[in-house]
Symmetry: C2
């Protein structure tokens, strides 16, 4: 089978490869330097191409900002429901016509809608900052991400094995 | 102006409000309990509605999985370019017709494309796990997220002030 000679699982390792044979002389090397193509090992992290001068962490941080804006709007909206019905309705109506997918654009538009909306926008900015710095559980995020990747990988492999085993039995 | 009596910035505080006046008797209260509507303060975090039994951290962790899958594919693709042209072409062609927006679906489809693609899919699963657990800089993510929210909030406020100041001078 082709799969037995093409990048077999057993060749996947974070340790340097041992050269042998044609295909095996060109194995997958995940330990390639992250920030340098030099042959001198200075960093044991995998090289991630395509981020230019930024980093995956910076890109993830930017995506999280939109998520924090979404959460800040949820928090403000829930609070207003009990304490200020007028502002609650203002925000609800604004949400019906404006997408939260771009957090900064949402806040910028909200602040320009009217003086009342401007106050709402300012509060959303403050809440997303407070949430990011004080409330969001970063350690929990790391723990859950590690758990999630294990669970998802196991499920994908199990589903594949079950599916191919069923096909073989037909 | 309406904005002066409607949720003014000075009323935004993480400390409990001091009741005074009609509007001020119903201020925005971000210190509402996160997991309970009880009046007994057990948790000083803001209550985030809409996540049911899950948590914002769990949702963020799931989103990060798709990001880690994207990064794993980038890493594998870059490595194959130097070490296995056949596999590199296989992955490139697959990428042209399959979206990476859903990481698990991408991997499941990749593993079912052919025995050769199955090996590629397995490697992507392993790389995303290794990247999540060993390479991704979680502390750096937290630092950058905090920095980003400050920068974005400052920019949004500055742009608003500059824009409204210009309007006033006309």
């Amino acid at each position: 089978m082709e799969s037995s000679t093409f990048l077999p699982i057993s060749q996947f390792s974070l340790l340097p490869p041992k050269p042998h044979g044609r295909n095996r002389a060109l194995p997958f090397r995940p330990w390639k330097l992250r920030t340098s193509h030099s042959t001198t090992l200075q960093c044991h992290k995998m090289f991630v191409p395509g981020f230019g001068e930024a980093s995956p962490e910076a890109k993830a941080a930017k995506h999280l900002q939109d998520f924090f804006t979404y959460i800040a709007v949820k928090i403000v909206h829930a609070q207003l429901e009990s304490y200020n019905q007028e502002a609650y309705m203002d925000l609800m109506q604004f949400l019906e016509t404006h997408s939260l997918s771009d957090g900064d654009k949402f806040c910028a538009d909200l602040m320009r809608e009217s003086p009342r909306h401007k106050s709402l926008g300012t509060i959303v900015l403050m809440v997303r900052s407070a949430y990011c710095k004080n409330d969001f559980e970063w350690d929990n995020l790391q723990r859950l991400a590690s758990k999630t990747v294990d669970e998802r990988n196991t499920r994908l492999m199990r589903d594949y094995v079950l599916e191919t085993s069923t096909v073989d039995r037909k």
